[in-house]
């Protein structure tokens, strides 16, 4: 059940509803920071802060286009989440087998 510090940033990034919403918006297409911010009631600096965190996690990439910053989704780091879930499936399956064996032998 290896879990690396590197993926902590990914888990932290997707733990927040606003950041999940931003990721959903970017699934459709690339968007500028302004376009993203227009979907939320919070201030643009607040949205920029969320985007910074998503960038740190490697989930969002930005490029300069004229005066605007265009953001796009990079879903690759989410693979860490998938691996994590898969590890746990194996873990729980083994744990339940242990429970069954023990209880059936020790009534």
């Amino acid at each position: 059940m290896a879990h690396h510090k590197r993926s902590d940033a990914v888990f932290r990034a997707i733990a927040d509803p606003t950041r999940r919403e931003i990721l959903s918006l970017l699934r459709a297409r690339e968007q500028t920071v302004g376009e993203i911010a227009s979907n939320f009631r919070m201030s643009r600096p607040a949205i920029s802060k969320h985007l910074r965190l998503l960038r740190t996690a490697g989930l969002v990439a930005t490029r300069q286009f004229g005066t605007a910053h265009v953001c796009r989704l990079n879903a690759k780091p989410l693979r860490a989440v998938n691996d994590w879930v898969r590890d746990y499936e194996t873990f729980w399956s083994a744990t339940m087998q242990d429970l069954k064996r023990y209880v059936e032998e020790h009534q």
Binding site: K5, S24, R27, L78, E89, M96, D98, L99, Y102
Partner: protein, 142 residues
């Protein structure tokens, strides 16, 4: 992607299984016992809503490990819900483990549901987690 759900059928009463899950002495005997990779040396269990539980032991390479959590729901012997916080894992993750025990004719169906992980600070938002992953999984897999 939905929460992890697993089911197993055990030839024993729900009460017997509930005891094996919550009694410290019992838990020590079976949890990880069969694999020999981990050795549990200490189990605590304050079985009441909000009560703490802990398992400590030795993992691969003699490294000490600990898993702690808090009991959230206790409806003996049908339902047990607790949080699960392993010390070898990101502090950003909180897992909720739910055990449903359904006894019929001396046989109990045990269903485990592992859901939600989020930072402690965002504990309340964990319900939104499965939806986001279902949408993003397709991106991961392509």
């Amino acid at each position: 992607m939905n929460p992890i759900v697993q089911e197993i059928t055990i030839k024993a009463s729900a009460e017997r299984i509930f005891e094996a899950l919550t009694n410290p002495g019992e838990r020590m005997k079976w949890w990880w016992g069969a694999k020999g990779i981990f050795e549990i040396t200490h189990v605590e269990s304050d079985l009441r809503p909000g009560g703490q539980w802990a398992m400590r032991g030795t993992g691969a390479g003699g490294k000490s490990i600990a898993v702690t959590g808090v009991y959230r729901t206790i409806e003996r012997p049908r339902l047990l819900v607790f949080t699960w916080l392993p010390d070898w894992q990101a502090e950003a993750t909180v897992i909720v483990v739910r055990w449903d025990l359904e006894e019929k004719d001396g046989v109990t169906t045990v269903r485990l549901t592992h859901s939600g992980f989020t930072s402690e600070g965002y504990r309340a938002t964990y319900r939104g987690w499965p939806q986001i992953l279902s949408g993003l999984q397709s991106y991961v897999e392509r």
